[in-house]
Amino acid sequence: MATKSLKAQGDELAVSNKQLEILNGGIFADGELPYFKDKINQIGQFPLRPKKLEVLQINVGYMCNQVCEHCHVDAGPDRKEIMTRETMKQCLEVIKNTGAHTLDLTGGAPEMNPHFRWFVEEAAKAGIKDFIVRSNLTIIRANKKYYDLPDFFKKHNVHVISSMPHWTRGKTDKQRGDGVFDKSIKALQELNERGYGMPDSELRLDLVYNPSGAYLPGDQTAMEKDFKKALKEDFGIQFHNLFAITNLPIARFLDYLIASENYEDYMYALVEAYNPAAVANVMCTNTISVSWDGWLYDCDFNQMLDLKVASKVKHIKDYNEDILNDRNIIISQHCYGCTAGAGSSCQGTVA
């Protein structure tokens, strides 16, 4: 189990150029596997273009209390990148003026940003329909100062989306660290006690499942059924939906794939599972992702590869929806992850 980010280890994969070199070279440059660009060109979807903006995803920092093995953000306690209040104010301006109905706060552990609560309070006033916080659950039990987060979430009607790799302790702890399972269970119970995740409750609690290894997620509906049954029977826990997400070959997951000699097989599996019907709904088509320092990206994955939007407008301070919407989305071979099988986005399957 890793205890430090790739960045803190000085690993060469911490550099986005190195990752892109791998994604664009090797089996793709050899012609063994087709480039994503060529694949979507065959169905007339290249260049990939955005539709109406619906989701503003804001990454408020890479600091995290966990160091999950598969993390595409390469987040961890040693990451110091944190969104300032100044940048948050620029985001708030945009939130007030944009037509986006969903605000999606992510990280790292977004709760670790010192301005997190202030930002949630301010943003909640803007009348966003769906206000998501991607909470890793353990943060709620990490330290006393976070114990009241469930109440805070409830007060602002925050939609909580949390990762849960498996309903068994062994698999969860292997991917996310020792003790994560027990803390996550406790946090879920706390959320349930506040009314989160109950069948008729408006307090939304969804779980995200992503595979703990070099394989693709199974059928989302079947997985949801299994998760619900096991969590209910074993711990009395309830939640609304399960989103099955494919791991994209970026940062620590890419590092794992290469170190375990699974990279080629995994890319083969992604390409083989390519589903043209998923292309039209990949999340970059209705989302803009903002980084901790205010730069704009097509998605959180492109953010980690430092592929800024191909537009005159590249920073939140210059935000202009019309100009931004007239852009081509930047793609590379990691995009196969979004179009494999039933497709994968931050909200699960898309096809």
């Binding site: 498996h166 499942y209 394989y215 199974g218 059928d219 079947a222 997985m223 998760f227 083989e272």
Partner: protein, 111 residues
């Protein structure tokens, strides 16, 4: 020419068997696909059966494929190993039950 009988990469080429006999290959894959659909048995149960059978028929490709399939379906390693034991128990039982035939023959031939 490969210098071993089994190459894990060959599994990726399984679909190519249709190239030498399109009709039969396609019929096989249609049938195969249908068998593994959710039915009276769940896809999860079918995956575990397939894993057990893979061991019994000792097919390394199928073992790889259904271990991965099990992971994809959230099947735990304990469940997978139990399935393999079910296969092994039936397989050894099937060997041993022929002991009755041996005993019958022995008795028939003996005074």
């Amino acid at each position: 020419m490969a210098d071993s009988y089994y190459d894990p990469k060959d599994l990726r080429k399984f679909g190519k068997i249709t190239e030498w006999s399109e009709e039969l290959g396609t019929k096989f894959f249609d049938y195969y696909g249908k068998v593994f659909e959710e039915g009276a048995l769940s896809a999860r149960e079918k995956s575990l059966i397939a894993l057990a059978v893979s061991h019994v028929v000792k097919c390394p490709y199928c073992i790889d494929a259904y271990t991965k399939d099990g992971l994809q379906k959230g099947i735990t390693k304990e469940e997978m190993m139990e399935a393999v034991h079910v296969g092994a128990a039936i397989e050894s039982g099937a060997t041993l039950v022929h002991g009755v035939q041996m005993m019958n023959k022995y008795n028939k031939l003996s005074m």
